[in-house]
């Protein structure tokens, strides 16, 4: 009988139910779109922000502590260099998936034909890696310095002979009158080489006074085989919170559960900590300016999305409130009759709420799919990429729709509970 009543009530007031479903669909679609974008925006924004460079630098412990404290510069200090063989381990940490790019640096002084000394830095340009997970990664400064203006082209490490190529900073090129395609004779501490200039770059900073070559070439010239000065890492990170800030100061101050939470969250400090675990005698630190900016942008974007979601839900609740109250007022005689013939308040409340919740279910499902569409429109117009819908969005939207429906129905339920049969059946 209950089902029959619900079904017939639907048919009878289909226009009103359609309006309620539409209102809920509108709220649910906005909530779905905003939540989907919010959950995916971190990755999307991170990807966008990665274009502005690395957010973690890794240096040897001795360089970090001894050199900075005592201002010594002795190549014989044990642990001054990082080990090249350990570079691959960075992609084996817990948050390996979040490491989107990284590149090592090894610098040495070289003498040019003009007699001038220049710093020559070995690095990856588009270094190809086959990871143990089966994934592949092309890492290097070609993607980490995407804002450089390059005359000529980037060195392609996959091309044979790339180890005899160099990219020259615009400052050096200007001083030495170098052009793309020229051969540059460089004399290092251990060896001398003729390098072909593949590109002249303008970085707009101190790097314009450097020459970049593949890692092996720099090691050969400086006699630094297997050694690395520093590593720059670009990682997708979660904005810092109180726990992350506490851990960044001293991870040992955390309780076991705090440590687990921190370790298993992609905070920049957590990723740094894990890099230090796999790279011997290293100190990994966040490039605070970049990391903080990313965090602030992400937090503000997220807040905006949450506000839009809340406002859309409030709007839906107000709409539902009006429509359900109107429906109950319209049906007051029917409800009065039910009370008169023996229906208790919970039974009538259940009937009305079931009708509204069934409508909400239809509206919610329609709104969810519409929301996926809205999310894709936002994704393509803002990030030029699809927004992936997280399964988590479904229960969150379902709970929001249920809550909004119930809250929106409360005034109507209150009216229903206070309705006296004598007032509606006899008109007094």
């Amino acid at each position: 009988m209950f089902v029959r009543m619900i079904g017939k009530a639907f048919l009878r007031q289909w226009k009103k139910m359609l309006m309620i479903a539409f209102t809920i669909a509108l709220g649910a679609s906005l909530a779905t779109a905003m939540l989907s974008v919010m959950m995916d925006v971190e990755d999307k924004m991170n990807q966008e922000l990665k274009a502005y460079g690395a957010n973690i630098t890794v240096v040897p412990k001795s360089t970090s502590v001894i050199s900075e404290l005592y201002d010594v510069d002795d190549e014989n200090i044990s642990g001054k260099y990082l080990k090249e063989e350990e570079l691959g381990k960075i992609k084996t940490i817990f948050w390996a998936f979040n490491i989107v790019d990284y590149t090592p640096f090894i610098s040495t002084q070289v003498k040019l034909d003009s007699g001038n000394e220049v710093t020559l830095t070995g690095t990856w340009f588009n270094h190809h890696m086959d990871l143990p997970t089966g994934e592949t990664l092309d890492a290097g400064i070609a993607s980490l310095r995407s804002w450089w203006t390059v005359d000529g082209e980037w060195i392609d490490e996959q091309t044979p002979g790339s180890e005899k190529c160099a990219m020259v900073g615009s400052g050096v090129a200007k001083r030495e009158n170098l052009k793309v395609g020229d051969t540059l004779h460089v004399e290092g501490k251990k060896d001398a080489l003729d390098l072909t200039i593949k590109g002249i770059f303008d970085a707009g900073g101190e790097e314009d006074d450097l020459i970049y070559v593949p890692v092996d070439t720099a090691q050969q010239l400086g006699g630094l085989e297997g050694k690395i000065d520093s590593i720059e890492v670009s990682a997708l990170t979660t904005p810092d919170n109180e726990l992350a800030r506490k851990a960044a100061k001293d991870p040992s101050s955390l309780s076991v559960s705090q440590y687990e939470t921190w370790y298993c969250t992609a905070y920049v400090s957590s990723i740094c900590y894990q890099i230090e675990e796999v790279v011997t005698d290293s100190v990994a630190s966040a490039v605070r300016q970049v990391a903080d900016s990313e965090g602030q942008i992400l937090n503000k974007t997220r807040l905006l999305m949450i506000l839009i979601t809340i406002l859309s839900m409030i709007g839906a609740a107000l709409g539902i409130c009006n429509l359900v109250t109107a429906s109950v007022m319209e049906r007051s005689q029917e409800i009065g009759l039910m009370k008169a013939i023996g229906a208790h308040n919970p039974a009538i409340t259940a009937l009305v709420l079931t009708e509204v919740l069934c409508t909400a279910l239809i509206g919610g499902v329609a709104g969810f799919y519409a929301g996926i569409g809205f999310a894709q429109i936002i994704g393509h117009s803002v990030f030029s990429a699809s927004i992936s819908i997280r399964p988590m969005v479904i229960p969150v939207v379902a709970v929001l729709v249920a809550l909004v429906t119930l809250i929106g129905s409360m005034p109507a339920v209150r009216m229903l509970l206070n309705l006296r049969p004598t007032e509606v059946l006899h008109g007094r």
């Binding site: 005689q333 029917e334 208790h344």
Partner: protein
């Protein structure tokens, strides 16, 4: 013991005494008509007897149980189990068929039984209109559905508020005849009416005026004899 007894019952709205120390007894199986001009307190009395409203003062004994101090939930249970209500405006649920309207009373009482609901409609001569919606029924037919709904849970007492107020003469006669049959079957009836023709077929009539029982008449010619009216 009377089925229904009102002892000094008053209903006061501000300064208005809608019912003023009314005492009344209705025996089991009796057919009582309540008459009076507008504002005399007929409907107020109907609401109080029907457990739809509470008296300001006095006691109401239904089947020996004082219902005057019961809370709203208990009064709902009393309406559901002991009282069958018939309204002037019929008050059928518009989106349910005739048989479903009868089953609605069963649903809130116990378990809906379509077969039994159809039998109740048959008793009022509407078996062939069971699947019709209220909008497809005449006023008389709607009132008979209302009677079937009131009867379906075998109440102790049937309360009818102006049951013929919205009916033409032919349908009025059909409804009165239904009451006569119910009375013959032992049903206790309390009928509030403006219509002297409806009142005069009852066993006893009380006339209210200004919230008090003005006078009472017993129908000495009451036979309870059923006329042969074809309900179909």
């Amino acid at each position: 013991m009377s089925l229904l007894e009102l002892k000094n019952v008053s209903k006061i709205y501000g300064n208005l005494h809608a019912l003023d120390h009314v005492s009344l007894k209705v025996e089991k199986g009796e057919w009582l008509a309540i008459m009076g001009p507008s504002g005399s307190g007929k409907s107020t009395m109907m609401n109080i007897i029907g457990a739809l409203d509470k008296a300001t003062e006095g006691e109401i004994l239904l089947d020996g149980e004082d219902i005057s101090k019961k809370n709203a939930r208990a009064l709902t249970d009393i309406r559901r189990d002991k009282i069958g209500l018939i309204f002037q405006q019929f008050h059928l649920v518009s989106y349910l068929t005739a048989v479903e309207n009868v089953m609605l009373a069963q649903y809130y009482h116990s378990i809906p039984d379509e077969k039994e609901a159809l039998e109740a409609l048959d008793r009022v001569g509407l078996a062939n209109r069971a699947k019709h919606y209220p909008s497809q029924l005449s006023g008389g037919e709607q009132q008979r559905v209302c009677v079937a709904r009131a009867l379906i849970n075998y109440p102790e007492i049937i309360l009818a508020d102006e049951p013929t107020g919205n009916l033409d003469e032919a349908n009025e006669e059909i409804v009165v005849e239904l009451f006569r049959r119910l009375h013959m079957e032992g049903t206790t009836l309390v009928v509030v009416t403006h219509n002297p023709e409806v009142a005069e077929v009852a066993q006893r009539t009380i006339v209210l005026r200004n919230g008090r029982v003005d006078h009472e008449t017993v129908n000495e010619n009451f036979t309870g004899k059923i006329k042969h009216i074809t309900l179909q």
